[in-house]
Structures are given as C-alpha cells and as structure tokens.
Amino acid sequence: MLTIALAKGRTAEDTLPLLEQSGWPLAENFFTSRALVFPAHSPILGELQYLLAKPMDVPTYVQYGVADLGIVGKDILLEQQSDVYELINLGTARCTLCLAGKPETKMNQIRRVATKYPRLAEAYFRSEGLSVELVELGGSIELAAVIGLADAIFDLVQTGATLAANGLQVLHECHKISARLIANRSSFRLKQDKLEPLLVALQKATTDGEGWI
C-alpha cells in the first residue's frame, strides 16, 4: 500500500486540485473530516492512504519510510535538509521567504531577527555580511517585530496582508517557495512500478515537459 503525507493547511488545500487534475486517487472527505488518515483506492494501484501532518513533520514521515511520498513546501526542505528525494516542483502554495520589518527599518540597523527558519536565516545573514542574533519562534512571527522582541522577521509571505495589518513590510525577498513532491529513498527504489504512473501524471499536469516520463 502506498502512503502519502500531505502538509496540512495551505499546501494541502492548494495542491489537492492539482492531484485531482492528475488523476491521482483521492479520499472524499479531506476538508470535512477531522481524521488524520484518509484511505483511498485506485483500480490500478490498489489501496492508498493519505496522512495529514504538520508541515514540519512531513519530511520526517518520509525519511523514516512510514510515508512513501510527501507533499511539502520547499521552505521546510531547505530548513531541515532531510534525506529524501525531491522529485517534482508542483508549483502550488507559492509564497516567498522574506525579511520583513517596520517601514523605517534600515538593513544595517537590524540586530535581532525572529524566525521559524534559523538555518536559512543564518545562511541569509552570513551571505549579506550582517551580524544578527536569531530568535527562534514557533508561530505568529509578526508579533515579535510589532512588540519589539526583534527588529525584523524572517518568514513566509504569501500576499503581504498579515504584514500590512501589523504595520510591517517586506524589506528583502530571499527565496521563492512552492510545494514539492518528495519520496522516501527506499520506496523510490522498491515501489517504482507503483510510483512511476503517479509521477508521470503529476509531471504532465505541472509542466508540458518531460521529467519522469
């Protein structure tokens, strides 16, 4: 049986239409049920199951092989550097990893930055030649800049509406982010017969080019 881990929230919501368009067998009640595991069936592939997991946990499920495939944002892959295969850029759940702060913030005055992405933030500030202290937070990162815990934040920005609502703006765009299909290294080798049709269908739906065809 194939198991596919989906990052809960916007990644899953944005990507499920693409999976449907690709002809992937889907569960019926993704958005109405509070379940975390969704069985599905395909006449060709047999039984499948989808797991809805926190985005940060998806690479772990895939690395350990409890999920054969995963769908997760590139931001998580860059931050965690898990041992998984990154197979297809799905082009969904697009956003940008940005440095943001109050409009008057000057780059060379930034001393403390709040983020969920300490590894990426560290790499970014090193490449800019800036010495900053990183503060790792789990969510609502904007709050740190609003109440003065940090001079700026390093976080995902989709539309910029949350930033604007909190009096913040993008200071620098650092990474373009989109959802990726990832695979466990062992599943990719041992379940190739089952995975190949899924990959080909998904590749066709995402680009007009080749890839896994």
């Binding site: 690479p59 690395q63 350990y64 092989g65 550097q81 041992d83 062992s186 599943s187 041992l190 896994w212």
Partner: protein
Amino acid sequence: MNRVFFEEPATFSGSNNGDRPAGLRDAYPSYASKRRALEIQLVDYFEQRGCSLVSASAIESLDTFWRAKTSLSVDDAYQILMAPGKLAVLRPEMTPSIARMAAPVLQQHPQPLYWCYAERVYRKPGSVSSWSELAVDAVESTQVGVEWMGVSEAADADLLLLCHEALQQLSVQGARTVVSHARLAVLFLNAAGISEDVIAKSLQQLVRGDYVGFQELMMTYHSSVSLLTCLRQLNPYDSESLERQLERCGQAVQKNTELYQVWNTVVSIAKQITELGRQQEYTFDFTLTRNIAYYTGILFETFAPGVGAPIALGGRYDELLKQYGADAPAVGFVLELERLLNVVASTTNRGGESLC
C-alpha cells in the same frame, strides 16, 4: 530473583544519572544481544566465503583521513587531540582505514586480499535528523563490511551477488540493489554538451536527492530534451539504450570513448546478472550518486521493504590504495546493522538459541 537497583525511584527529571552526547546510542540487553548475533552471523558467513576478518583502530590519523579525499570534512568527524598540534579523528567511515592497513601488505605481496570487518563508525551530529540510524550522516552506526583489494572490475558482479547472498542468509525478503557508476552520468552529460563545472554542480544536486534542482539546471543548458529522463532510461540490460539516449540528445559519440568503455563495464555486469536470472534483484539508475570522491567505478545501494534507507552500500575505488602506497584496484560494501535489525525478524544469539 528480585534485585533492587535504586534505593529511591529514578525519575526522568533526575539530572544525576550522567549524560551522553546527542545522537549516540546505548544498547540495552535485548538490542545489544541481537545486534551482536547479527554481526557474528554475517562475519561467519563472509569468512566461509573466503574473507579474512580484520579490525582497525577506531582512532584514525588525520593524514589517513585526508589522503582518502573523502567528501567528509574534518568538522564532520569527532576530533581528538593526540599531542599538542597533532589531531586524530574517530573514524567516520571504514574504507580509508582498511586501505591504509592493506596498502603495505599489497606492496609486499601483490595478490588479492579478501577482507571483512565488523566495526562502529562515528560522525559528529549535524541536524536532529542525523540522530536517526536512517540518516546518510548517522551519528553512530555498526557496519559489517567486505573489501576485495587487488581485484579488477571483472569481480564486480560477484561482489554484488555476495551482498545479496549474505542478505539471503539472514532471510531478508525482497531486497533490491540499485547499481550506478561513478563516471557514467558525468560522461553522458559531457557527451550531451554540458560543461564540467555545471556537471559538478548538478551531481551535488543528485547527491542531495534534489531532482527538481537537477532538472531545472539542466533545462537552462539543454532545453530541448530532459537529460534527467535520458539518464534514467539508460538501461544496461538493453545495451542499445545508450545510443538511443545519445541520439535523443542529438549527439553521436565515438564507440571507443571512455563513455562506451564505462557502458561496456555495466553492460557486462547486466549480462552476468541476466545469465543467473536475477534481474528482478538488480536495477540500474545512473542518477544514483554518492558524495564519496574516491569511487571510480560501480557504486550501489541495497534496499529492503520496511527500511527507509539503504541497508547496504558499496562501490569500486581503484585509486584509493594509491594514496597509501599501493597501486591496486578495489571494491567493497558495508551492511548497516542497525538498519538491518529492522528487517531481520529472527536471528540466533551467540549461544545459537533463537532470539525471537
């Protein structure tokens, strides 16, 4: 018999129990016994198959480590200060140590050496994911390995078969080995017109498993055809597939080039596997790349259902022994014991009793 170990119950919050570095593992009775039994079973098997057991020091000189031109940096290894200004490392992999041991023997007696070993290797913890036994850079792992030194490429198929036969001894079901070659992707991409510096960058993407990055990079240089698809469709069981994929890239390559020499090597292995009727167990994928600079020929990874990472890894390293003074080709593999324990359902302990 009831024995009391603690006058007061130990608590998880108690901080006076001593500590050990993150990612390193202790083995309590049941696990330690199973792992040792597995180790013994494998070493016994390799000895029956003509390998001699050797053991190398766990602490390796920095010089040995550097000569191997391993992709690991000294920061990936635990460093030990032996004397002021003299650093050593806790070995992060076995092959350089085995090559250092074998080189003087091969210099003095230039005939093949068939060695095996059962040892622990250590790497400094990186991210939390490296604490897992499934990580490429697992912090600590037990390896049972085989190294054939002074043997040419003609022995490669036999080594591949030996790896699977060892797994069969352990009743591991459904194992499959993916075979690649350290030079083939490089030579194919070069024949397709990709420059060497771009190839080097693209191989790093394959090492990381970043097929998206590889595809994007290749499309900027060769937009008419997917080189990822071409590489994946090279199939030594179908010896004409190289020419077909070169044609697809619009390239004609002389048959006496290095690309064809390498291709003939893997086709020869495929033929030997076919003659034994074991194609189901061995597949070829030349996008399989590992970050080990000393590989010169075949490289392979073996997978089994139920383990999310390779249970065996190996390859040919014809230039490594030269770094230690003996110009001899070599090939070998390691079995990762902690990973194997996930699939070896039943084994025997040191007294011969069933453990499970």
